[in-house]
Symmetry: C2
Subunit: 602 residues, 2 copies
């Protein structure tokens, strides 16, 4: 597969440099060693490795999903080979600190780099994605000893990591997890319980696996306030860093999914006595940070994971769009109405590439607006992580933190909703061919369907946005989003985009008044009943804003690339933003249709 079918380097350059001024970051001490050249070099490298080593086995991995054989996970060898090349190129370490062997890349560049791998092969790229998140969590909350023992091998790509939250009876509802962590005299804990949906939960890709596991210490506070976080390695680690005994965590089964098949997804049993480290059953676990603060620590990782899931959904939509565009430019069929008019048979002009048909262009333009809009959203949020961590003043950092926190549910849910739509349109552009396994778009469609589910379903994101984020700190987060958007619309005054800006201003005002109306009820069940609609509308406003940002960043250039950005911005303004009006009408009416529907009526 050509790299131009995976992702658009031109678009990444536009977003990073013409829009987000990523080069400006090199003025900051943390990124002082970097330059446009180092960013370009790592992006070149990512593009090359993703194209040559990840994309080629994307379909193979789909057709040969991991299997459980004699208690171990077997998978195609291409996965291990590709990940070895990824690690050796220093990409696992990319955005980590130099002291851990990393390149200390800005987060926004790291996301752009990693986007290549997700777009080329989402299944294989999940292993390093999870490992990097795991390592970052331990860097933030683990002890120096834990960092030295577990994080260094992760950054070196020798061990991979997981996050083990869900249980068979408790997916979204972590208050109900029952895995127990029993304190031992030596300061360790022993874990007993079952974890479900653990991606990368077992494999032979690396010599060890570092599980980060949520569990409850008996006698602790009830509910989510009694959840602690533990490191549970597959193999215990000796003082010299060599591997010791097999820990009592075992693979109980694999989930067989519709897509995303290259990523093994597991059911893990902890403490069933299959192994007896130190002569005792129970999975040895090491407490991270303080007891009962596990959920807060995990959320640190989950917010990043949520933005990462959004990025994955976006780039799966993006590669679908690029494939559809290629197909539409090369597949000849039919003629436009004007060319047909009054002519028949042999007198007809030859068939045209289907991109000439308006309805095909409509589908491509829609897909483009979702894919590129989602990419802008993901990179904007990644840029906020850099601001949050390296902006000059405390005030700027706090502002970036608040904005990022508010946008996170949107950064996860919006691309998870519209990325799959881009893939759906990509199939439709291909016609019958797109429905066959001879073309890759059907796999993107299946792969992408996971994204609205994992890392918190989109319904959960809706409750997070409306129930938490926009009400926290007296509504400061929503206010900041509004101010940030109106700073953009102000810049559009007197330009060809003034109309777009005016419509966006009106939508932002409406978002504020509708939020007030919902919470003005004083009834959380009523306010939250239609939270998903609220999330959709807020997401469309945010992405419309980012399209206006992109349109303004085009300046007066009239090359095809910038005209394409303008066309997609115009599409989002004229076709997409207006959807929010009916959504706000519904929300403002405090519609009780859903709330008042008795389950017996369904």
């Amino acid at each position: 597969m050509r790299s131009s079918l995976i992702l658009s380097r031109r678009d990444l350059d536009f977003l990073l440099h013409e829009w987000l001024d990523v080069e400006g970051l090199v003025k900051r001490p943390r990124y002082a060693e970097h330059s446009r050249e180092t960013f370009d070099a790592v992006l070149d490298l990512a593009q090359q490795i993703a194209t040559e080593h990840f994309a080629p086995h994307n379909r193979t991995a789909d057709e040969n999903e991991p299997r459980m054989v004699d208690g171990k996970v077997e998978m195609i060898p291409e996965v291990k080979r590709a990940l070895g090349i990824f690690t050796e190129a220093g990409l696992m370490a990319g955005s980590f600190d130099e002291e851990y062997g990393g390149m200390q890349l800005p987060h926004v560049v790291g996301q752009a780099v990693f986007a290549w791998f997700k777009a080329a092969n989402v299944g294989t790229s999940a292993y390093p994605f999870l490992t990097m998140g795991n390592a970052r969590l331990l860097l933030a909350h683990g002890s120096q000893e834990q960092i030295d023992i577990y994080v260094r091998p992760e950054i070196e790509g020798r061990w991979f990591g997981t996050m083990a939250l869900s249980e068979p009876q408790a997916g979204s509802s972590l208050a109900d997890i029952t895995t127990k962590a029993v304190p031992q005299d030596d300061g360790t804990h022993r874990l007993f319980g079952n974890k479900m949906w653990i991606s990368g939960g077992d494999h032979e890709l690396t010599e060890n696996i570092v599980h980060l596991v949520l569990a409850k210490i008996p006698g602790g506070p009830p509910g989510v306030k009694g959840i602690s976080l533990f490191i549970v390695p597959k193999f215990l680690v000796n003082e010299d860093g060599s591997l010791g005994e097999r820990n009592d965590v075992v693979l109980a089964g694999l989930n067989h999914k519709m897509g995303y098949r290259g990523t093994t997804n597991t059911l893990l049993n902890f403490g069933e006595g299959v192994h007896t480290p130190g002569g005792e059953p129970g999975a040895v676990g090491y407490l991270v940070g303080e007891p009962h603060r596990g959920l807060a620590y995990m959320f640190h990782m989950m917010n990043e994971a949520r933005i990462g899931v959004g990025m994955g959904a976006t780039v799966l939509g993006y590669t679908g769009y690029l494939h559809a565009l290629e197909y539409a430019r090369t597949r000849a069929q039919g003629r436009p109405a004007a060319a047909r008019s009054g002519r028949e048979g042999d007198d007809l002009p030859p068939p045209v590439p289907i991109v000439a048909h308006p309805d095909v262009r409509r589908m491509l333009l829609a897909a483009k607006s979702y894919a590129e809009g989602g990419l802008a959203l993901g990179l904007y949020c990644a840029r906020l992580v850099d601001e949050e961590q390296t902006a000059e003043t405390e005030e700027e950092r706090a502002r970036a933190h608040l904005l990022l926190d508010t946008l996170t549910p949107i950064a996860k849910a919006w691309p998870s909703q519209w990325g799959p739509v881009a893939d759906d349109l990509a199939i439709q552009v291909h016609g019958g061919y797109g429905y066959t396994r001879d073309y890759p778009v059907e796999q993107f469609y299946r792969d992408n369907r996971l994204n609205p589910i994992h890392e918190g379903t989109n319904g959960i994101q809706a409750l997070d946005l409306l129930g938490r984020k926009v009400v926290a700190q007296g509504g400061a987060g929503l206010q900041l989003v509004g101010e940030t958007i109106t700073a953009t619309t102000a810049r559009a005054t007197g330009t060809e985009w003034a109309g777009f800006a005016a419509d966006l201003d009106a939508a932002v005002a409406r978002l504020g008044s509708v939020t007030a109306a919902l919470w003005g009820t004083g009834d959380p069940d009523l306010a939250l009943a239609n939270a998903s609609v609220y999330l959709e509308a807020a997401g469309h406003i945010v992405v419309a804003w980012l399209w206006l940002e992109q349109a303004l960043a085009c300046g007066s250039s009239t090359d095809a690339f910038h005209e394409g950005k303008r066309a997609a911005a115009r599409y989002f303004w004229r076709w997409e933003l207006p959807r929010t009006r009916a959504q706000f009408d519904l929300l403002e009416s405090l519609d009780r249709t859903v709330l008042d529907t008795d389950e017996a009526w369904l």
Copy 2:
């Protein structure tokens, strides 16, 4: 699988009897032998056979798709067994005339009967679906001899039929087909060419296959006006009806699809000399009707096929909805906000079935409104077929014909768009479980993705509606749709549905004015550029109307079933119908965004 997870008999009874007054049809001579009892009996039979013989191998067929072995199609034996039982029960013959061994069922009952099989196993049911369409076309346009030779064995289920239109280079664009039909001295033709996407194009399910093939007789008119229709049997038929020589039509390959895998989908080569009937290469074909009228004959079958595709999309969404509802009632997780308030941990009430969460009810209510709305649409159109054929006066028949003709693109496209959304929601209700192959909803989602593509993509349906149907006869079709809807809204005066009726009246008026605005441009390319949006809006209006119809048909009953109908009608009114406003605004503005987007900008 329990039959209550396949389809709702209660809903079918409601639609057929409480709403469509199907019993009233038995007053007509054609259906005089029938009664509520005979209708019930055949529905009972269909429900039983679909449940016991079709549903059980739905997943098996998906996991073991047909394979090509030594030039033949191998498939799991359950398919042939189920189809044998289907035929023996007289269901293939169901709506055919008594003189051909049929039951002469009303078309609307036949569709309800067949809905059970599509919902239980869309892959297996495609074989009889295609065969019945094929037989009906020949009954309408074939000679008596052709009927006796080919149709009788089809109705008896001994031979199956196909429709062979598309070619590798010409899917939607039939003007460009190149299959040739060369006239022979004996009055037959010999066909040469390749056909693509032929469902049921080869198999060992029956001893013969009757292909209906579009081809061009050399020297005929150019383009679509030179297309003729031929019967091309897999085996030639002797005068006594026994099978003769193998015809020169051979299986060249199978398409491997994302879903709908039980239906073999083939590439067929005609006239490549693999077989030489009568000592000559070339596939022997028998002209149906007159030369060059093939497309018109085929459309007779395709309009029925389009309604059938819509029904398939609907019932796949329907079974997805029923599975999601079952899951939501039995899966316990989390608590509503009010139950959580101020309580923690052990003090928390136990988890509730997830149907108690408003966002889950939202998804279920939406899926219900799409599935039941689509079923109402399909059965309404089937009822129109009965009116078209058996209404007392010529005027009534013509009226039914015009209404059906206008609604056909909607009957195909609307369920094809929203049925898959119901399955998407069904996956989301299941969470991670829904994404696994341990639950059936992921298959419904994959299977249903074909429906917006085949039998004319939804983009083609949009051009058919806006470019042909609403402008034909000076706009009489659209006018009739409007009158039919306002006859319903008039009945809502003074009821609790008056608000719904008023909104629907406004939407219908808007549909009329927007249609006028589009064609008022005098520019077909501009008028048709956004035809897909027009189709979506028109579809939502039609289904909103059918929800109002259903709400009114509930009368004052307050049992749970009727309350459910009311809740779904309210949902459609409050949540769905308002989407059309932004769509009409866009259409009325004669938006040129798509039209003016240069392909180089994409």
